[in-house]
Amino acid sequence: MLAFVIRRLGVMLVTALVLTFVVFFLTNLPPNLEKLARSEGSVRMTDAAVASWLEEHGHTGSVFYRYAEWLGVAPGWVNTDEKGVTRGLCIGQRDDPALAPKFCGIFQGNWGFSTVFKKTVLYSLGKSMAATGWLMLAVMVVMVPIALVIGVLAGMREGSRTDRVLSTFSIATSATPEYVSGVILVALLASPATGLSPVLASWGWIGGKTLFMGTATSAMDHITFWNFALPVATIALYGVGYIARMTRASMTEVMTQQYIRTARLKGVSFRQVVLRHALRNAMIAPFTVIMLQFPYLLNGVVITETLFNYKGFGWMLVTAAGNNDIEMLLGASVVAVIFVLVTQLISDIGYVFLNPRIRLG
């Protein structure tokens, strides 16, 4: 087991390095750097000026070396311009160049400075991830139990009316991406002009103009049901359908297994057959799906946060990408990649623990 985890961690590390390098490479392509130079320096810089700006700010040289610098395994660049000002990757604005450390990459905790948010990357990342953390937590709490219950109920009697109804619901929701369900939910529940809200308002049942709030910006400070329900529902709805379908497929398969017949012919009641005999076996596959859903949530989160203007990780990623905020984007991708890899690891280990055949085989 230990050997397995260590090996997996090794593969993970290699994957993380390769992926961050790809991101580094793509974000540090010459056109991006030129754009950076013009936005940081001046828009009207000549090409020669851009080149020298890049030179001064350590953006030239081999991409591998710059990646190593960024990681913190190669010494950071130091340049002294003709005015005698010494700049360096590790030298702060008011610091004495002589006292600056040699290495300062992400390994040393130096994730860089965001050009859009005008804060350090770590600070912005931390803040946005906290916001997204709450969103994800709420989504998981809503989504997973509902999906599992729907999946199990539909799958335990394949072809029954319950199955038909629940399956149709799951297929419909998994065919509704976040940008569609979000739009429809807002139109139905959070528009003063259409849907439910004008009716409710005219009846005097709601105080404001709309039932729910169409943006979740206020949830950054204070989460309430009315500002958080729609973004959560938007993300959860798609996931519910997907997980429920997986659970149903797994459940129907388990219900046709010989050992379920054995249990039934032992005289076990249907309820007990489902709860004691089928459930654990049926949970193995959906567990993996749920864990792998986390990385996918990232997609949904980006869309939903943009749609509802909730300044979490996804919103930040979009803003950073849209504004050529290279260091922010790099930091965000490190987080995203590690997040995906860790969930995959947990999914693998959990799978092994749920499945005695693998654990002890």
């Binding site: 593969v11 994957t15 390769v18 992926l19 790809v22 991101v23 793509l26 974000t27 392509l29 010459p30 056109p31 991006n32 754009k35 399956s167 297929i171 419909a172 998994s174 065919a175 509704t176 991406p177 940008y179 569609v180 739009v183 429809i184 807002v186 139109a187 959070a190 528009s191 003063p192 002009a193 259409t194 849907g195 709309t210 169409g214 990385p295 990232l298 997609n299 980006v302 869309i303 943009t306 749609l307 996804g314 990623l317 979009v318 990408a321 984007l329 965000a332 991708s333 995203a336 990649v337 995906v340 890899l341 995959q344």
Partner: protein, 400 residues
């Protein structure tokens, strides 16, 4: 239907339409689709016993509904020019966001009189944009999915069949791509700056070669015993393939028939790139299962080449799950394209595709929902149809 025509006086020319009239007029507008659907279904039902898996689809109500929805959009895309009421890019008047059923201001002679489903913030006809959007989606989604399948199959077969180090290496690559957050990948790949670096073209150059290699190996492995046939088939594959290849990957078709907008190429490559690893995994799994069958062993003891066994003994027997996944994946790709459009990536802003229309419409969503809701419902129904079709197919293919 005559009572629905404007001449009948039933619908007043100067008044906005009621919802019933809107639906009536839309149904009329879709007439080529109805004709095509009726023809398809009548023919399919008549010959369903002779049509294999496609015929069996008509035994399952779920599959029939799914198929009907999908074909509705396919025919809509096909006949978009007849169905749409306006040029999807034309700005009709100065009123922003006209409501569904509103009268088009100062309509010229012979022009359609209403915004059937309203207009957007630039007063473009939402109905026509939705119809034209179907064409956009249905050209690129199936094509990109097909490419992703060819790439996934070509790499998944040897990974599953030969295994060993090759499998380890390919699986590592696949996992690498899968571990990349999709949205980030798109932001990095589908930007105008990237296009200048030539990376998408390089990726396209590699990815688009794989289908040619696929078909060349397919014929080579089967017909190496009779060189004449082999030369003919492989030759045709290479000539045709490389011709299309020069056009699609490098936009350098000497005859100028094949070509792809660089923006579109970007999107196309990214979508293939994201989907292929999943297909790879599925194929690899199925191959590992099938390769222990006796008919594979029989091929081996005949001295068949590995590629023959993979392509002619294993692949045809993996078709069931692959077809089901293909339907599902077209749906995912549609969603993915919508996501791209939603973030304004890779498409021109005035493009009528559903994703970017939703994005454009969402800004005024809470006041005037129709510009966003119409394409949203269209996209949802198409994906729903594909999902239902896949579900029905899965059930039917499991039945015997």
């Amino acid at each position: 239907m005559s009572f629905l025509t404007p001449e009948s006086g039933w619908a007043d020319m100067s008044e906005p339409l009621s919802w019933a009239a809107i639906f009536g007029l839309m149904a009329k507008q879709f007439w080529p689709v109805w004709v095509a659907l009726v023809v398809t279904f009548v023919l399919s039902f008549r010959f369903k016993r002779r049509l294999g898996l496609y015929g069996k689809l008509f035994d399952s109500p779920v599959a029939i509904i799914g198929f009907a929805i999908v074909m509705f959009w396919v025919f809509t895309a096909l006949f978009a020019n007849i169905i749409m009421t306006f040029d999807p890019l034309a700005q009709l008047g100065s009123v922003k966001n006209p409501l569904p059923g509103a009268v088009v201001p100062d309509g010229a002679e012979g022009q359609y009189k209403w915004f059937l489903l309203g207009g957007d913030h630039l007063a473009r006809d939402v109905f026509s944009r939705m119809v034209m959007g179907a064409r956009q989606v249905l050209i690129i989604a199936p094509a990109a999915t097909t490419f992703a399948f060819l790439v996934g199959i070509t790499l998944g077969l040897p990974a599953g069949y030969i295994g060993g180090r090759l499998d380890t290496a390919l699986s590592f690559l696949a996992n690498l791509v899968l571990a990349f957050p999709v949205i980030l990948l798109f932001y990095l790949l589908v930007t105008p700056e990237i296009r200048n670096t030539g990376i998408p073209v390089a990726l396209a150059a590699i990815l688009f070669l794989i289908p040619i290699a696929f078909f060349a190996i397919l014929f080579q492995s089967r017909f190496h015993t009779s060189p004449n046939k082999r030369n003919l088939y492989v030759g045709i594959t290479l000539v045709l393939g490389l011709w299309v290849y020069s056009g699609l990957a490098f936009n350098a078709d000497p005859l100028g028939v094949w070509g792809m907008d660089p923006n579109l190429l970007n999107v196309f490559v990214s979508v293939v790139f994201v989907n292929a690893p999943t297909v790879f995994r599925i194929v690899r799994g199925i191959v590992m299962d099938i390769k222990s069958r006796d008919y594979v062993a029989a091929g081996q003891t005949r001295g068949e080449t590995a590629w023959y066994i993979m392509l002619w003994e294993i692949l045809p027997n993996a078709r069931g799950p692959l077809i089901v996944d293909y339907c599902l994946r077209i749906g995912y790709t549609t969603i993915l394209l919508g996501t791209l459009g939603f973030f304004g990536l890779g498409v021109t802003p005035e493009s009528p595709d559903w994703g970017s229309t939703i994005n454009a419409g969402r800004k005024l969503l809470s006041m005037v929902p129709h510009p966003a809701v119409v394409p949203a419902l269209a996209l949802m129904s198409l994906v729903l149809g594909l999902n239902l079709l896949a579900d029905g197919l899965r059930e039917e293919s499991l039945k015997d």
